[in-house]
């Protein structure tokens, strides 16, 4: 794949060429929250000029594909039913017959420009054709099909896809099935001048909302989201850092997660007031629980809680936002204690937590597809592994009539790379490819909390008799932080060292993180609160990533 112009890539990465794509880590994990919307079908025929051994020739390239009619930020744009048809003129056929070719197979590489808000990236749509007979005379029509990269963006705005140059690799065979000499013929085609103004294949509106809000199509954050890519150039698509919960508006900040229809329902024997429509009437309208990985504590104590957490992470280097998938956290709730400090009465609570996935302290593996300027699209399978204790510490200042809470979650996590695929080709990263150190964050109290660890802060408050808002301990809410992704080590196999590539591409400071914790399930209490636990005492509430 060749871009139309030189991109601002680091030279050391450029040296690796297009085979190794820049891939972004931690963050770019947008869930495949496919909300069924209308389909935009594209069928475009464009004039191209192809450079054949015999000289430039006019050709017609027809591209068909289907796109979602519109998406929300973070949702996939997955082109489907993609075909590329090249009608090569008779002269091209002559170039083949010179080689005594009887049949030919073709591989196409269509460069598709992706633009949004003035930012540009490129994708390569690859396709292959079955073996075709070479006609005795007349044009040769090659139709190729194949999977193409999925796109996801971190910001709203129309996203346009534009047809660019087309590479056609022909593999001719002689009548007896042997390869011709030479065995292949590469043809480069570019849009003809007459194609100008017609090269836009599709424009997909990307709305700021997380979902379209259509009740008939509940979003389905998958447990291992195949994910997405910021289709952004290094110059930045707008993927704003997660905003902090302001919490100043009552009942607004407690997040959808903790105020889901099922959460916190009380006393279902409660009376029905004549003029109150709320109690007892909501049951029929509850959304089904989205799928989520198993999250059970099989040896609970009376203090055991379980909760899901998920959210976006930005990778600053690539200006992309991604999703860390719905992950299970097991918590042992600490006792809340009253402490008198010089500035007032505090309520302190320290709880221990750990990630849990199939018995291991980690997130589920998640796939991230990255599309970066000038490089081939890359899919990586990643996992965040917990390598030490995770502490959840809340400090609530009790100042009548308000309660102001700050909760710090500290967790040493390493980012492990399980697998990398570049344009579908596996790049062997080896079994131990991971960050050399745990991810780190600016630590407000480094003397008390030494070592590298991620720091997330949740702020919550309850003001003068209004609802609590923001992050509240057992009901969750938004947690934000900033993370530095350290250098990678042990990446590569067979003598190929991928450490520097991954480090150059991904590692760095200032990556914003916004995670949403859902309502906890108090596993060990006698009667779990309805709506907080499933029947087998897993967290009922599955949070959705939010910006």
């Amino acid at each position: 794949m060749r871009g139309p112009g030189p991109g601002p890539r680091p030279s050391r990465v450029r040296a690796r060429g297009a085979t190794i794509a820049a891939f972004v880590a931690l963050a770019p994990l947008l869930p495949a929250a496919a909300v069924a919307v209308g389909t935009l079908k594209v069928d475009t025929a464009l004039p191209y000029v192809c450079t054949l051994p015999s000289g430039p020739q006019a050709a017609t390239v027809r591209i068909t594909a289907a796109f979602p009619e519109r998406v929300a930020v973070g949702e996939e744009i997955r082109p489907t039913d993609v075909t590329t048809t090249v009608e090569l003129p008779a002269a091209a056929v002559a170039d083949l017959t010179v080689l005594e070719a009887a049949t030919v197979r073709a591989e196409t590489r269509l460069t598709v420009g992706v633009t949004q808000n003035g930012q540009r990236a490129e994708a390569t749509w690859r396709g292959t054709s079955p073996s075709l007979d070479v006609p005795a005379d007349g044009p040769l029509t090659l139709t190729t099909t194949g999977d193409v990269p999925i796109l996801t963006t971190g910001g709203p705005g129309d996203l346009s896809l534009t047809a660019g140059s087309l590479g056609v690799d022909l593999a001719p065979s002689t009548a007896d099935g042997a390869a011709t000499v030479p065995a292949s013929l590469s043809v480069t085609c570019v849009p003809a001048e007459a194609a100008e103004g017609r090269r836009v294949l599709a424009t997909v509106p990307v709305s700021p909302g997380a979902t379209t809000g259509e009740p008939s199509a509940p979003p389905t954050p998958s447990t291992a989201p195949s994910s997405s890519s910021p289709s952004s150039s290094p110059a930045s698509l707008p993927s704003p850092p997660p905003s902090r919960p302001t919490g100043r508006e009552p009942a607004s900040g407690t997040s959808g997660a903790s105020r889901s229809p099922a959460a916190g329902r009380t006393a279902d024997s409660g009376p029905q007031a004549a003029d109150d429509t709320a109690p007892g009437t909501g049951a029929g309208t509850e959304a089904p629980r989205p799928p989520a990985p198993t999250c059970r504590n099989d040896k609970p104590t009376s203090k055991s809680l379980t909760a899901y957490i998920t959210g976006y992470s930005n990778v600053r280097k690539l200006n992309g936002a991604n999703v860390i998938p719905v992950s299970c956290t097991l918590i042992e709730q600490g006792d809340p204690e009253i402490v008198f400090l010089p500035d007032g009465v505090h309520l302190l609570q320290k709880s221990d937590a750990e990630l849990s996935y199939k018995g291991r302290r980690q997130t589920p593996p998640f796939e991230a597809t990255f599309l970066t300027f000038g490089f081939a699209p890359t899919t990586a399978t990643l996992v965040l592994e917990q390598v030490g204790p995770m502490a959840v510490e809340s400090d609530i200042l009790l100042v009548f009539p308000d309660n102001i809470a700050e909760t710090y979650i500290r967790a040493p996590l390493v980012l492990r790379v399980l697998d990398v695929r570049v344009n579908g080709t596996r790049l062997d990263v080896g079994p131990s490819c991971r960050t050399a150190k745990p991810l780190s964050s600016p630590e407000p109290d480094p003397a008390k909390y030494p070592g590298d660890h991620l720091v997330l802060l949740g702020k919550g408050q309850l003001l003068n008799g209004t609802d609590a808002s923001g992050y509240v301990l057992t009901s969750g809410g938004p947690l934000t932080g900033e993370v530095t992704i350290p250098a990678f080590e042990n990446c590569g196999a067979g003598g190929e060292d991928l450490d520097r590539l991954l480090t150059a591409t991904i590692s760095g400071p200032g990556n914003h993180l916004k995670q949403i914790q859902g309502q906890t399930c108090a596993v060990g209490v006698e009667v779990p609160t309805e709506g907080q636990c499933t029947e087998d005492r897993q967290p009922y509430v599955v949070p959705k990533p939010a910006r």
Binding site: A251, S258, R265, G270, P271, A274, K303, Q333
Partner: protein, 211 residues
């Protein structure tokens, strides 16, 4: 524990100001005949404004709460003029909240409405909600509150304004709540309910007299 108690006292003071509450000695001869109209009748009550339970300065807010029960004329002083057979705190989609997390309150009923003092000029009955018994859960912290909560009932509006005084409610058991909510803590319960005869828009009245 001293300091938070003082905070709580401040809470109570500030709260009472709004409602002119308290079980003060009757200005005249105490009522011994309590005429409820209609009687007997079923009633419903829905919160007007938020209901707040606080313990040691930790506030728990319910934006939705409702109750139902029966009411009937009675004699004596104090006299039970109503029985609350069900009371809910929070509702689907609107749980009670606190900075410790969402709060679940399950009441053990019946609770009572007890009349003690009537002011004919204002149509206001002073008394309390009695036999209060509720289990409160926040995450793994579970505690039980029992006691009573002072309040007033105003005939013109049907407003049952509950504003408990320090010491009326007590935490009698507590698990996983640490020193935030120990046994013996004195929670406060504050909020207003609008009462209507069930299935109607009729506001019931309570009139005390001393024949």
């Amino acid at each position: 524990m001293k300091k938070p108690m003082r905070n709580v006292a401040v809470v109570a003071g500030a709260a009472t100001a709004a409602f002119a509450l308290a079980v003060s000695p009757a200005s005249a001869v105490p009522s011994t005949v309590w005429t409820v109209n209609p009687s007997p009748a079923n009633f419903t009550a829905v919160n007007s404004g938020n209901i707040v339970l606080s313990v040691n300065g930790i506030a728990m807010t319910c934006t939705k709460s409702n109750a139902s029960g029966t009411m009937q004329s009675a004699t004596g002083n104090p006299a039970t003029v109503a029985s609350i057979s069900a009371i809910a705190f929070g509702a689907t989609g609107a749980p009670c909240t606190s900075v410790l997390g969402n709060v679940t309150t399950v009441a053990t009923t019946p609770w009572t409405v007890v009349a003690q003092d009537y002011t004919a000029a204002t149509g206001v009955t002073k008394g309390y909600v009695g036999n209060v018994d509720a289990k409160v859960t926040v995450g793994a912290c579970v505690f039980r509150v029992t006691g009573k909560a002072s309040g007033t009932y105003t005939n013109s509006t049907g407003a049952l304004a509950v504003n408990s005084l320090a010491g009326e409610l007590t935490v009698v058991s507590s698990t996983n709540c640490g020193s935030a909510v120990p046994v013996g803590a004195k929670p406060l319960f504050k909020g207003t309910y609008l009462v209507k005869v069930a299935g109607s828009t009729t506001i019931p009245t309570i009139v005390g007299s001393n024949p």
